[in-house]
Symmetry: C2
Subunit: 364 residues, 2 copies
């Protein structure tokens, strides 16, 4: 049987967790759904270790995040961190990792996973992954589609077609984020799944698909991979990568290629999209507060307290005290304090936009 490799996509930025998420500390480095303080990316790696040893896990990230990623993932060899000089969307990201893996092992199977999602049932997740991996013998690319639990308008959907083998379906088509009415139809149909952004394929198959559907990307990757030594490779990547076409794997490959399959998954998945969902996924006390153990909560219910202060406190521990307030998100970093109603948490973007317009770049 061919060996399994993992690619963790960990280059993303995003403002939905401001002020915790920042340019230098994106969402995947934050412990947004963990009682132990484990960053999402570390959880994402830990949950696949029963399937794939760290030597075969690749992490694609941004140059300025590489050191932080290595610190968060000490078990993964340094050479498995691929640093994008600029973000070029998911097709170049996956294409590069695939090229590296293919050069190492022509028979490799690859799973591409997000670095910043939450999964409640990790055993169920791994069983679904194994189903998807087995299907890569018969299909070009296999995805996992999450069985919807609500009429979500924030995700893309996958319409499943004919049932193939056990638990595997042909993909009928990919559909964009729906409006409310359409989302309700999708939920009722039983045929629509959330696009989770997980991909499973043989490295050789993905290389062929890129050659067919994204030839410019394929040629760029060839140039990069011809640089033999690590230093030369780094130099070449810095030169070639920014020239690659910026396109998602969904638009560039999935929606164009034949023989794409989907495996429905049902393992308590969340993309952890806002402080609201971080609160939903966090352990809560009897008053429904999700807060670090040192926080003071008096006559307060349903709050999320996130304390990311790091600077040395000469007087010892720090305190966040909420008295008589309900359903707030209170997020404290070394330089920012945010107070916002939990169910309006998506409005943090308004503060981010204001700071951008003020040129307060150190706060972003």
């Amino acid at each position: 049987m061919s060996d399994l490799y993992a690619v963790i996509m960990a280059g993303g930025a995003g403002t939905r967790f401001w002020p915790a998420s920042r340019n230098h500390r994106p969402k995947q480095l934050l412990p947004l759904a963990s009682a132990t303080g484990e960053p999402l990316v570390a959880t994402s790696v830990r949950r696949i270790l029963p399937l794939c040893p760290p030597e075969r896990i690749y992490v694609v990230t941004a140059e300025h995040l590489t050191a932080a990623m290595q610190a968060a993932l000490p078990g993964i060899p340094a050479e498995n961190f691929l640093s994008e000089p600029v973000p070029r969307n998911t097709a170049p990201c996956i294409g590069w990792a695939n090229a590296e893996i293919l050069a190492r092992d022509p028979d490799a199977k690859v799973m591409v996973l997000a670095s910043d999602h939450f999964i409640a049932d990790e055993d169920g997740f791994r069983r679904t992954v194994e189903t998807a991996l087995a299907a890569t013998d018969a299909w070009n690319v296999v995805t996992i589609g999450i069985t919807p639990t609500r009429p979500e308008t924030g995700y893309g959907y996958i319409e499943k077609g004919k049932a193939a083998s056990d638990g595997v379906y042909a993909v009928e088509r990919f559909v964009e984020k729906p409006n409310n009415e359409r989302a309700l139809e999708y939920l009722a149909s039983g045929h629509h799944l959330w696009n989770s952004g997980m991909f499973f394929f043989k490295a050789s198959a993905m290389a062929r698909l890129i050659g067919s559907h994204l030839p410019a990307l394929g040629e760029g990757l060839d140039v990069m991979m011809r640089a033999p030594a690590a230093a030369a490779r780094r130099e070449t990547v810095r030169r070639v990568f920014p020239e690659l076409p910026s396109i998602s794997i969904d638009h560039g490959i999935m929606e164009r290629a034949q023989r794409i399959a989907v495996v429905p998954g049902n393992f308590g998945w969340s993309d952890v999209g806002s402080w609201q969902s971080s609160w939903e996924l966090s352990e809560k006390d009897a008053s429904d507060n999700a807060a670090p153990s040192g926080a003071i909560l008096i006559e307060s219910r349903g709050n999320l307290v996130s304390d990311l202060r790091t600077a040395a406190d000469p007087a010892g521990d720090r305190v966040i005290a909420l008295i008589g307030v309900d359903n707030l998100a209170v997020v404290v970093t070394d330089d920012v304090v945010l107070v916002i109603p939990r169910d309006k948490a998506q409005d943090v973007r308004k503060a981010v936009e204001l700071l951008k317009s003020q040129g307060a770049l150190t706060k972003l």
Copy 2:
């Protein structure tokens, strides 16, 4: 005419402005009612400078606060700061300052003022003070009683008796903090004034009153004042002061002595008793927010934001962001973040009590 001396009582602690007010930084050192960041004690001194030069202003404070007080009041000579080794309530505080002033100037008149109150109409205040000072020729002690504007249950009251000279009344009696019903009666009566804790007297008269009504205090003060040089005085104070009777000037002198007068005052006085009253006294923006200029307030109304962080921020300025919240007090220090509804601000004591019970003394 005899010279005027001022005594500013600045030894108080108090928890109502936690976490801004702390053992090492009590309320009077905070800019709670100022747009310019002036601490209350500096405002208290500034507003009497037209009446009394800094060389004749004494500040009674606690030993551990003396350096901070001197820094906040750079115009006042170092020898005018009297450092209590332990707090012994207001009679020993005023008695000591009075003894120091009397030793310097047997004809002195003295005004005793709080360090942590707000006064809107400073001219009106000084006119009232001059009336009270003039009355000290005929009365043992003169106080200022504030004309009530609401049925306040948090203050003691002074019932005024017969009108004496212009604007001066004999004190009928002092009354303790009333219940609601009684406070409404006081407000309606027209005879009751709030006890503002301001006292005016001749130094020689106060020395006599102490000798008559608090002889143990008088003897202790005599021992302290017999130490001739500054160093010896400091040593003697450390030994004798803790032995002095701990009693308020109200209970010890005012309620016992004859010929006590009150001058009604009406100059926009507040004892700045809570974050709520700090908000009331602060300058507010069009959305009724009282916040430092750097704060971000989006779709938020009626909030008080207090930022007392001092530690160097390597990334530049700090940010406090409120989005979609109303009528909160958000107070941020280097080690504490407090979020509380403005109109429940008196409940900060609940956090203080909790921290005390946890032995978290550095947070107090």
